[in-house]
C-alpha cells in the first residue's frame, strides 16, 4: 500500500463519516430512518439507485469478465439494464403509492393479513442475507487484494463502516453515501474509458479490429459462447436478471424515499441513464484491460479477473489513478452493503416487530430503537456468516438473490396490482412457492453439488441440471399464486378497487 492509496482511502472514509454526522442530526423518526423523510428529488434518488445497484461485482467483476471472456462478460449487463423497464412499468409507481417502508406494506395495502406480511418479510430477509454474504465475501477478498489487509480485517472494516452509516445516519446517510459513490464511480469510469479510447485513437472500429487478435480467444472473443456453453442455463440466468431487479428489497426500498409516484418515475429514468452509460463504458474497461494489461497478468493477480480495472488504471494512469480506482471500488462496496443492511433491518423491525408483534401500535421511540437494534443484528449476523464463508464460491449467491426476487416477490406484486380475484391464500402461496422452489432447486443444482471434487459444497451428481433455477421457479411462483387463490373462497374485490384506485391515481396515500 502506498501513501496515495491511504490518503484517498482516508478521505473517502472521512467524507462519509461527516455525511453520517449531519444525517444523524436529521434522523429523528422511523420515517427519517427508513426513507430519509421521503424528501429526495428525482435525480438524487436516481443516483442513489445507481449507487445501490452497481456493486463491486458490476464494476470490477464485469470489467474483468469482459477482459477475459469478451462478449459473454458483457451479457449480464443487458439483463441488468433492461430490468429497469420492469421496475418502471410494473413496480415503481404502485409501490410508492401504496407502501410506506417495505414491500410487505404494499402487499398488505390489499390484504392486511399478518401471514402475508410474515411471508413477504421472510423472502426479503432471505434475499438480503444471500446478497449481503456475496457482497461481504467479495468485498473482503477485494480489499485484501487492493490494500493488502487480511481477509477477516477487511470484512470487519467494511462491516463496521456500513453499521455506522445505517445505525446513526439511517437512510439519509445511506442515500448520500450512494450518491457520492455513484459520482466517484462515474468519474473513475469516464477517466479510464477516455484513456482506453485514446489508445485506440478514438476509433471504435479500430478497437474491435485490434480486439480480434489481442486475446487468446481470437475472433471468438467478440462473439457469444466463450464462457456460457449451456443455452438453457444462460436463458434461465438472463430471465432471473431481467425479472429479479423489480423484486430486490434494497432497490424497492429506494422508492419510499421520494414524495410521490412522479418522482419515483423520474428517479428510475435517471437510474436507467446512469446505469446504462456505466455498462457501456465497462466495455471499454474490459477491452482496454485485455489489450493493455493482458489476460495472463489479470488471471495471475486474481483468477476471476476482479483486478482487471485496477490493473488497467495502473497501466494507463500509473499509481495515482490505480489508487483512485481502488478507493472508488471501496466506496462502491460500502454503498451497496449499507443499502442492504437498511432493507434487512426494515423487514425485521418494521414488518416483524412493528406490524406483526406490536400490531402497528409501537411508539415512535420503540420503532426507532427496533430499527437500530435490527440494523446492528443484520450487520453482525452477515459479518459472522461472511467470515465463515470466505472459501465459498459466492458468485452464484448474487444470481440466486435475483432468482428468489423474481420467483417470490415479482408474482405477488403483479397479482396484487392487477388481479381482482387474488386473495390472502394466493399471496402466501405465491411467495412461499417461489421462495421454496428457488431454494430447493439451487440446493440440488451444480452450484451446490458438483461431480468435480472441491468445485462446490458437495461432491456428487446434481439432481437439477441448471445452475440458476429461474426458468422453473419463476413460473412456479406465478402458478403457486394462481392455485392458492383458486383454493380459497375468499374474495376481496373491495380492497382491489381501493388498491387499483390508489396505485393508479396516487391519491388517498395513508388511508
Amino acid at each position: 500500500m502506498n501513501a496515495t492509496v491511504i490518503i484517498i482511502f482516508l478521505f473517502i472514509v472521512l467524507m462519509t463519516l461527516v455525511i453520517t454526522y449531519y444525517a444523524a442530526k436529521r434522523t429523528n423518526s422511523a420515517s427519517d430512518f427508513y426513507t430519509a423523510g421521503g424528501g429526495l428529488t428525482g435525480w438524487q434518488n436516481g443516483m442513489a439507485i445507481a449507487g445501490d445497484y452497481l456493486s463491486a461485482a458490476s464494476f470490477l467483476g464485469i470489467a474483468g469478465s469482459i477482459a477475459l471472456f469478451g462478449f459473454d462478460g458483457f451479457l449480464f449487463s443487458i439483463g441488468y439494464l433492461v430490468a429497469y423497464l420492469v421496475v418502471l412499468f410494473v413496480v415503481a409507481e404502485p409501490l410508492r403509492n401504496l407502501g410506506k417502508y417495505t414491500l410487505a406494506d404494499m402487499i398488505n395495502a390489499r390484504f392486511n393479513a399478518k401471514k402475508v406480511r410474515g411471508a413477504a418479510a421472510l423472502s426479503s430477509i432471505t434475499i438480503v442475507i444471500f446478497y449481503m454474504i456475496a457482497q461481504l465475501v467479495g468485498a473482503g477478498a477485494l480489499i485484501q487484494l487492493l490494500f493488502g489487509i487480511e481477509y477477516i480485517w477487511a470484512v470487519l472494516l467494511v462491516g463496521i463502516m456500513m453499521t455506522i452509516y445505517v445505525l446513526f445516519g439511517g437512510m439519509t446517510a445511506t442515500s448520500w453515501v450512494q450518491i457520492i459513490k455513484a459520482v466517484l464511480l462515474m468519474v473513475g469510469t469516464v477517466i479510464l474509458s477516455f484513456l482506453v479510447l485514446k489508445n485506440f485513437n478514438f476509433n471504435i472500429f479500430e478497437m474491435f479490429t485490434q480486439m480480434k487478435t489481442a486475446t487468446p480467444h481470437g475472433e471468438a472473443y467478440l462473439q457469444p459462447g466463450v464462457r456460457y456453453e449451456i443455452p438453457l442455463d444462460t436463458i434461465s440466468l438472463m430471465l432471473a436478471l431481467v425479472l429479479g431487479t423489480a423484486g430486490l428489497p434494497h432497490i424497492l426500498m429506494r422508492f419510499f424515499t421520494v414524495r410521490d409516484a412522479k418522482t419515483a418515475r423520474s428517479s428510475v429514468m435517471w437510474a436507467t441513464w446512469i446505469v446504462g452509460i456505466f455498462y457501456v463504458m465497462t466495455i471499454f474497461l474490459g477491452f482496454g484491460a485485455a489489450a493493455f494489461v493482458g489476460a495472463d497478468l489479470i488471471t495471475s493477480t486474481n483468477p476471476a479477473g476482479n483486478m482487471a480495472a485496477p490493473l488497467l488504471a495502473q497501466a494507463l494512469g500509473g499509481d495515482i489513478l490505480m489508487s483512485f480506482i481502488s478507493a472508488v471500488a471501496f466506496a462502491t462496496i460500502l454503498a451497496v452493503v449499507a443499502g442492504l443492511v437498511l432493507s434487512g433491518a426494515s423487514a425485521f423491525a418494521h414488518d416483524i416487530y412493528g406490524q406483526i408483534i406490536k400490531k402497528g401500535k409501537a411508539t415512535e421511540r420503540q420503532q426507532m430503537l427496533a430499527a437500530r437494534y435490527a440494523s446492528v443484528g443484520v450487520a453482525v449476523f452477515s459479518i459472522i456468516l461472511a467470515i465463515f464463508a470466505q472459501s465459498l464460491n459466492v458468485a452464484f449467491l448474487v444470481s440466486l438473490a435475483f432468482c428468489i426476487a423474481a420467483s417470490a416477490n415479482l408474482p405477488v406484486i403483479v397479482y396484487t396490482i392487477f388481479w381482482k380475484k387474488f386473495n390472502t391464500t394466493g399471496a402466501i402461496s405465491a411467495i412461499l412457492t417461489g421462495l421454496i422452489s428457488a431454494l430447493v432447486l439451487v440446493s440440488v443444482s451444480p452450484s451446490v453439488i458438483s461431480p468435480e471434487a472441491g468445485a462446490a459444497i458437495f461432491t456428487g451428481n446434481p439432481l437439477f441440471p441448471l445452475t440458476n433455477p429461474a426458468i422453473v421457479s419463476i413460473p412456479l411462483g406465478f402458478i403457486g399464486g394462481f392455485v392458492g387463490t383458486l383454493l380459497s373462497k375468499e374474495v376481496n374485490a373491495k380492497q382491489f378497487a381501493e388498491v387499483k384506485v390508489r396505485a393508479n391515481t396516487g391519491g388517498f396515500k395513508q388511508l
Binding site: I78, F205, G276, Y279, V501
Partner: protein, 135 residues
C-alpha cells in the same frame, strides 16, 4: 386463524368510520371515499384503458425482444457475422437493447405526464383535489 375477507372488510370499514368521525386527528377528508364508485367511473376507466394500451404492448415488446435475443445468441451463430468492419452483429443488437430501454423510458415519461393529468382529473371529480391533504 386467518380472518375472512368479509371480517377484514368490516374491520377496515369500522376503522374508517372511526377516522371520519375525528377528521382533525387524521387531517383527512370528512367522508370515506367509495373506491368502487371511483373504479366504476368513466374517467377512471378511461385512465386504466389508456395505461393498458401503452403498458401491455410495450411490455410484451421489450420482454419478447430481450428473450428472443438471448435465445438467438444461445442456440444459433446468426449474430456472429460482422456488421461493419470487425464489429459482429451481436454487439449491434446488444446496443439496440440498450437503446430500446432508453427510448421506452423516454416515451413512458411523456405518456405518464398525461396519465398524471387524467388521474388528477379523476380525483377532482370526486372532490379530492389536493392529494397532499388526503391523509
Amino acid at each position: 386463524m386467518a380472518r375472512t375477507a368479509e371480517e377484514l372488510a368490516l374491520e377496515k370499514a369500522a376503522q374508517r368510520e372511526q377516522a371520519s368521525k375525528n377528521p382533525q386527528d387524521r387531517g383527512g377528508p370528512l367522508h370515506v371515499p367509495d373506491f368502487e364508485e371511483i373504479e366504476r367511473s368513466e374517467s377512471f376507466k378511461d385512465l386504466m384503458k389508456k395505461k393498458k394500451q401503452f403498458l401491455i404492448p410495450t411490455t410484451i415488446l421489450f420482454l419478447g425482444l430481450y428473450l428472443l435475443f438471448n435465445v438467438v445468441i444461445s442456440y444459433t451463430n446468426w449474430l456472429d457475422a460482422p456488421f461493419v468492419g470487425d464489429i459482429p452483429w451481436v454487439w449491434v443488437f446488444a446496443f439496440g437493447l440498450f437503446a430500446m430501454t432508453w427510448i421506452l423510458v423516454t416515451v413512458y415519461m411523456k405518456r405518464a405526464a398525461k396519465f398524471d393529468q387524467m388521474a388528477e382529473e379523476t380525483l377532482k371529480e370526486f372532490g379530492y383535489e389536493d392529494k397532499e391533504d388526503i391523509r
